[in-house]
């Protein structure tokens, strides 16, 4: 039963999840800041784009800490690789799926004002009903899309 639904075990999933929650909590307890990982993809444009949308205070006033969190993400991935000695590993998902999927992820998350970490972790932990609906929506469209691609022979 467990093996059927969790062929790779549960431990590392749960430990990683608890760590991610602790990271979100630590940022809040130390600085009072809440935020997922998609806003940095808009706020960083405020450094170079004069488009009024990107020059809003919510982006210009948060761009520095959001970029710092993003730098931390890279550092954390690097630390994990060093500590576990796992070496590098590269995805084999075709490049065009990474590009097309990534574009829709960026467009959709910013239109929705949240992603898996924004709506999924920060929104749910803040008891935001719109975030719960957003999470259910992207779970449904994500599952349908992935299953359709598998059906037509994709990975």
């Amino acid at each position: 039963m467990i093996e059927q639904y969790f062929p790779n075990g549960i431990g590392h999933y749960l430990a990683g999840g608890l760590m991610i929650g602790a990271a979100v909590g630590l940022l809040f307890i130390t600085t009072g800041l809440k935020g997922g990982m998609s806003t940095v993809f808009s706020s960083t444009w405020s450094f170079v784009s004069k488009t009024p949308f990107f020059q809003q205070a919510r982006f210009t006033e948060s761009r520095l800490w959001r970029l710092t969190v993003a730098a931390g993400l890279i550092l954390g991935g690097f630390a994990w690789m060093l500590i576990t000695g796992s070496g590098t590993w590269q995805t084999t998902i075709p490049w065009w799926r990474l590009l097309v999927g990534g574009f829709l992820v960026g467009f959709g998350a910013r239109l929705s004002n949240g992603c898996t970490s924004g709506h999924g972790i920060c929104g749910l932990a803040s008891f935001q009903m719109p975030s719960l609906l957003a999470v259910l929506t992207f779970l449904v469209t994500g599952i349908v899309t992935a299953q359709l691609i598998a059906r037509i022979g994709g990975m």
């Binding site: 979100v24 909590g25 809040f28 444009w45 800490w65 991935g77 590993w89 998902i93 992207f138």
Partner: protein, 136 residues
């Protein structure tokens, strides 16, 4: 934003990136195996993260007058409208195509998952088109 806060932002981000790597969320193949119902590990990751984050978000403002190195407790405002739901639907389609979302796309670069650089560029492009032509 003072330097102490930025240091905590860096530490929090590093812990986040470590957790994403440990839970193999930086592997698009693992995310897709959840969406295809062959490995439900992602639910453990999301569930574990939400439980701890909820405890922190709900308890900290009741126990402390203000953040340890800040002045106000922030909010996560989300609005119920077509942008929130329609955007989430589009996000999910992209997630199902690539197996990548914003956090893992960034964190994966730290452990040398170089193809994710394409995703990061594409997310930046998508975010620009959204802000430039559909900004609100």
């Amino acid at each position: 934003m003072n330097p102490i806060q930025l240091i905590w932002a860096l530490i929090s981000g590093a812990l986040f990136g470590f957790g994403l790597s440990l839970s193999t969320m930086t592997h698009p193949e693992v995310v897709l195996s959840f969406l295809r119902f062959t490995d439900f590990g992602l639910l453990m990751v999301l569930g574990g993260a939400v439980i701890v984050a909820t405890l922190c978000y709900q308890l900290a403002p009741r126990l402390l007058a203000k953040p340890l190195f800040g002045s106000v407790w922030g909010k996560y405002p989300s609005e119920l409208n077509m942008r929130t739901i329609g955007g989430a639907a589009i996000f999910g389609i992209g997630w199902g195509i690539s197996g990548v979302c914003p956090g893992p796309a960034i964190a994966g670069l730290g452990s040398g998952n170089w193809p994710l650089f394409l995703v990061v560029l594409a997310i930046f492009a998508g975010a620009w088109v959204q802000g430039r032509f559909f900004g609100h």
